[in-house]
Symmetry: C2
């Protein structure tokens, strides 16, 4: 418990102490020293081992909790957040039914194969052109009806160990599997929503007429270290995308 903060020359580093502690703790999480579900040492212990005040550690931990990296529970401790936890569950799922209720569709992977990245995927993921990705085609269903059609690209060295049952319903969300199988935690995402006339293949999958207006949602997801880890295009005709602007 004698890990020290890498203290830089104070002239060089104008960064506040609590940010340095934040980054230091995040670093230990990124490297896998603390796995999802693990409890960190208590605030007291961290403060003592780092040689800073309790309040400084608290602020760093509060910001990690704010960013969804960590979950704090009074009386228990501070744990690295799992994507399967209740708190993380709906964070990245923004589609709602006509009545505004959150939908929990079943996900089924229709196809998974290694292929060259398409131009847009390579650009978004920061890969060299035609780098290898794992390409997934996926449907989300409610009550036997397909509501969402997804095309997903995952950079391949990173996701080589992803273990997917093709053609049957997944019990877990994909992000839970990313974390469990490949040690990839999705920390942040950027969505872009455009209108589109349903392409033929998508229309057939969703059971609508080709050309029907649909939502096309392009997502780029980023890991804890800020690197892009997923390119996803979701298409839906019957669900709305909900955003709260606070």
């Amino acid at each position: 418990m004698s890990k020290d903060l890498p203290r830089a020359c104070p002239a060089v580093t104008a960064r506040p102490l609590y940010q340095q502690v934040h980054d230091y703790l995040l670093g230990r999480i990124v490297t896998g020293e603390w796995q999802p579900g693990d409890y960190l040492p208590s605030e007291q212990r961290l403060a003592a081992s780092l040689g800073v005040a309790l309040g400084t550690v608290r602020r760093a931990l509060d910001e990690l909790a704010e960013a969804g990296v960590v979950e704090r529970r009074q009386g228990r401790g501070t744990a690295v957040l799992r994507h399967s936890s209740d708190r993380a569950r709906f964070r990245f799922f923004r589609l709602v039914g006509p009545d505004g209720a959150r939908i929990v569709p079943t996900g089924r992977v229709l196809a998974a194969r290694r292929r060259a990245a398409r131009a847009g995927e390579a650009r978004a993921l920061g890969l060299s052109p035609s780098a290898l990705v794992l390409g997934l085609t996926r449907e989300r269903r409610v009550g036997g009806r397909a509501l969402v059609h997804e095309t997903i690209a995952l950079p391949l060295p990173l996701f080589a160990r992803l273990d997917l049952p093709v053609g049957q319903d997944l019990a877990e969300e994909l992000y839970v599997l990313y974390q469990h199988d490949c040690g990839v935690t999705v920390a942040r995402a950027e969505d872009r929503i455009s209108p589109e006339a349903a392409p033929v293949a998508v229309a057939r999958s969703l059971g609508i007429a080709p050309g029907t207006p649909i939502l096309r949602i392009r997502r780029i997801a980023f890991g804890l270290d800020g690197v892009a880890v997923e390119h996803r295009i979701s298409r839906s005709a019957r669900l709305d995308y909900a955003v709260a602007i606070e």
Copy 2:
């Protein structure tokens, strides 16, 4: 400077002190005691006059700043945020061009008339059926081309003093005018995005073929006091809606 917090019986109120301070300060802003642009008393003064520690006031002010109610500047003080400030400017504008760049279109009100609220508007705004609203039709243009078509409903006693030049470009965003003319500060909004085939009137306005797939964005905006103050439907064929999920 002898304003006291309304201290309730400690058995009844389990609410933390800093939340009580937060609500107390927000209340004084809502009533207009501090206008947008006004500086609040310093943390020291507030803490002294409320009889609480500096850290407690700081936490309350930090949360008001987080919520976009207030803006803090080192050396200056803490001021009630204006919608015209740089910080507030893009908070509620989420449409971007094909290249991902934020667009700053010009807004022009085509029509403004008092009318009965439509069913959906009345429900969203919490009005009695067929209550009176100010109905606006508006276009947002870039380079002479209409990119967004909007239908806006504003509950009428509240927005009676709204002063809008019809048919010419607006120098300010609408929310700035809400705040300036009517004392209404938009603090929060909920957007729902659906796909739609462009209705005839909208298609003509946007210069596209009727039936073209477009985005239909329904917004309900809320004031500082949590009451719904605006119902807005924006339609666009050429812009994307951008969301960052942190």
